[in-house]
Assembly symmetry: C2
Homo-oligomer: 295 residues x 2
Amino acid sequence: MTQSDLHPRGVFSAALTPLNADLSPDHATFLAHCRHLLGEGCDGIAMLGTTGEANSFSLKERQALLEAVVAGGIDPARLLPGTGVAAFTETVDLTRHALSVGVTTVVMLPPFYYKGVSDDGVVAAYSEVVERIADPRLRIVLYHIPQVSAVPISHGVIAQLRQRYPTTFTGIKDSSGDLANMVTMVERFPGFAVLAGADPLLLPLLKAGGAGCITATSNLVARDLAFIAKHFADPAQAEAVEAAQARVVATRNRVSRFAQMASLKALMARASQSDGWMRMRPPLLPLSAEELAAL
Amino acid sequence: MTQSDLHPRGVFSAALTPLNADLSPDHATFLAHCRHLLGEGCDGIAMLGTTGEANSFSLKERQALLEAVVAGGIDPARLLPGTGVAAFTETVDLTRHALSVGVTTVVMLPPFYYKGVSDDGVVAAYSEVVERIADPRLRIVLYHIPQVSAVPISHGVIAQLRQRYPTTFTGIKDSSGDLANMVTMVERFPGFAVLAGADPLLLPLLKAGGAGCITATSNLVARDLAFIAKHFADPAQAEAVEAAQARVVATRNRVSRFAQMASLKALMARASQSDGWMRMRPPLLPLSAEELAAL
């Protein structure tokens, strides 16, 4: 992350969360994974997002995991935890807590229980959070993932929030998979960091002026993504960039045959030779034996 | 509620939640509303549901409101609070808390953040809750509201849960508006309480063997619904039942022209001459001045 302007830029891993046998987050393994991802070249860790199963954890579990990572020596400036939940008062609690441990940029879902809500309603919810926290350090990356949240972040919402709180809303993670939407936001909102939520879109989005990515496959291919982000504009590296992109696309295709998060966890378990990575919180489940064999 | 078999039966109001100026729940006004609803003939109060904006409140706010109602003298056997949230560990916390104040029946959403989850995943989530609480007093009413939760409760889920925990899962609130689905469940699951989530469906569902309703318009027409539930099978009251049904349908139609919950709150504000009822938690918003005038 370029700290000069506090806009997120580069490759952020939507880190998977390893679980203990009682399905609680495994702090030590997660910390080691964060160190590994940064060592591979990630600019930061977007922990406790959709891929991290965050909305299957309690507030206390989320706060404890974040504290463990910071206590373990990860620079909080490298952490972009997810803090958006269904109740804005709890989004306030989680965001205040993140600020209290030194984090300044959070990735924030809109309230996602009620559906068909108006743009004004979404803006009102984000505004309550900003006003109640009232901390000029706070930077928010909006989170557009309509296929899961079922509450999209429209361009109208972005425009209103940037107008009300120009230094607070610094970017958006777009997990819709719609590159055209990302490029339109790059063009319409100068200085706003547009981050791809799908690994194969990092390269085309960077070429179109995007800021980077927050992605799931990065748990496995962080080095390739970091290489792409560093060299995408260098003609001398064009071939190596295309080769890295091909590996990213191949891995992404591999984990998309079955449930993506379960597949990523299965591959993490194999790479680390630790079955603990396989566990998932209901309602999500690990791959079946048949799926595992096919993977 | 018939306490002999602990299956919910009758009319339960999905109570609206009045808010203070800071958008916190107004305990005193809510308590008075609960007393009023029971006085009108409701068998119980399904507080902290979708209509009650529960998923826009923090766990602490939910627990405090439930404690205030019990402290105010409402019999906890008459309360069916909603306790299902996105993280099963918090569903456990809320449900344990409800049991701790004397409530035994809760209405429980499935975990609703992740979409496209399997029946096995939904069953696993409910099973974690039941196993971790491990309290034989616990009774759970499943909550099927696919247009909001986007996670349906299939008949397969019901069958599995009834088989695993025959005394725990006593019924379902079906807010899909699909009467055929409700009647099918009545036929397929003997002894299972099927409760309509839409006021106009109480009468046809009772005639088909259903157990009652948990509905929103009941905030305004509880007396009519209670009359229907008491007399629907009495030929001597057929005309009065039809008249009550006509009033229920008319009120429901009236509040369905604009956003239903905002419309209900607006009519509550008018009836009680208290503007406090108008307030809503973002992302939901009160009616606009134009809508209010048209209502």
